[in-house]
Point group: C2
Chain length 197, copies 2
């Protein structure tokens, strides 16, 4: 057992929980499993979290923090606004991709998040729309064909919604081929051309 | 019992089947129910269709015919191309809307269509893309910002995919509010502005 330094314990627990929840599902993962994987005694885990539900909450907020950090990184990068749009949406796709594949682990985790951290999906949606809006504002300033960034952020969210199933909606389409990451890239290139000044 | 004229029997049967399938589900509807609603003897129904599966096939092709007739009507109308785009997509939404509401009848019918008429979803997708392409070609000729109608038809199909769940995918989004017909109108207005020359 590798014992992480005390300050890293919370992080080690969250990482262990995410990887086990995704692999084995929330139901199939015990607090013991998480402790073992994080290299901690079960008793130590219980000093951080009173039960599995609290671990799920922590995981949900860890996702929200990652999303926020990623959005911030994109916004502060030196890319051009329409490249930020692409980078953000493709990165968001990659971040949520496991949750769209209709597999047991991710689906159970999504359900557990809706149960134990029901406020986080809305946080994710807000972050998503705010980031799009901030990017579109920049694009507008640089002369893109954008009139109302806030409103147009929502249209972009809706036009790309099929790529962000989140929380258990399967990527698999009932008819025709499923959409791929390449399709998202193509769609973004097309939207980018329409938005260019 | 109102006995329709012989030439109308097929139509009466299809109409009766659609309305019963949507209301009571495919499993909950018997050939007897359909005969009664169509005002025909059960024996007569069996001269048209050998079983319920064949009725489902006929219903699926009736939907395909309606879709084709509707697409043709839009294409041949005197509207401007971008108005055709709006009218077609909103009409398509209305046509498929019952199938997105996660209700028993429409979901069972969608499943039955996938089983008994598995070629029809692809027919619907082809018709959809061909219609969009034809409209975009016209729009291009009239000076819209469209380069490759065939390719761009697909991007429009993907950007509006969340409104056409087809075959049992629920409209209900796992997070945030569900999209409405008003959202589709808004999205189309926005796309229309971006496509205008």
């Amino acid at each position: 057992m590798v014992r992480p330094r005390s300050g890293d314990k919370d992080q080690a627990l969250v990482d262990a929980a995410i990887s086990l929840f995704l692999e084995k599902g929330v139901k199939g993962t015990t607090v013991q499993d998480i402790a073992k994987k994080a290299g901690l005694a079960v008793g130590t885990v219980y000093t951080y979290f009173k039960d599995k539900g609290e671990i799920v909450r922590r995981v949900a907020f860890a996702f929200a923090e990652r999303h926020h950090a990623f959005a911030k990184e994109i916004l502060e990068s030196r890319k051009k606004p329409l490249s930020k749009l692409n980078a953000y949406l493709l990165g968001f796709y990659d971040m949520w991709q496991p949750f769209g594949e209709n597999q047991k682990g991710p689906m159970e985790l999504a359900e557990a998040v809706f149960r134990w951290a029901p406020e986080t999906p809305e946080i994710a949606e807000r972050e998503f729309l705010n980031t799009l809006e901030a990017i579109l504002k920049e694009a507008k300033q640089e002369g893109a064909r954008i009139d109302r960034p806030e409103e147009e952020a929502r249209w972009i969210a809706i036009s790309t919604a099929s790529f962000f199933p989140l929380a258990g909606t399967p990527f698999k389409r009932p008819m025709g081929e499923s959409y791929s990451r390449e399709d998202l890239k193509g769609l973004l290139t097309w939207l980018g051309r329409k938005l260019s000044g």
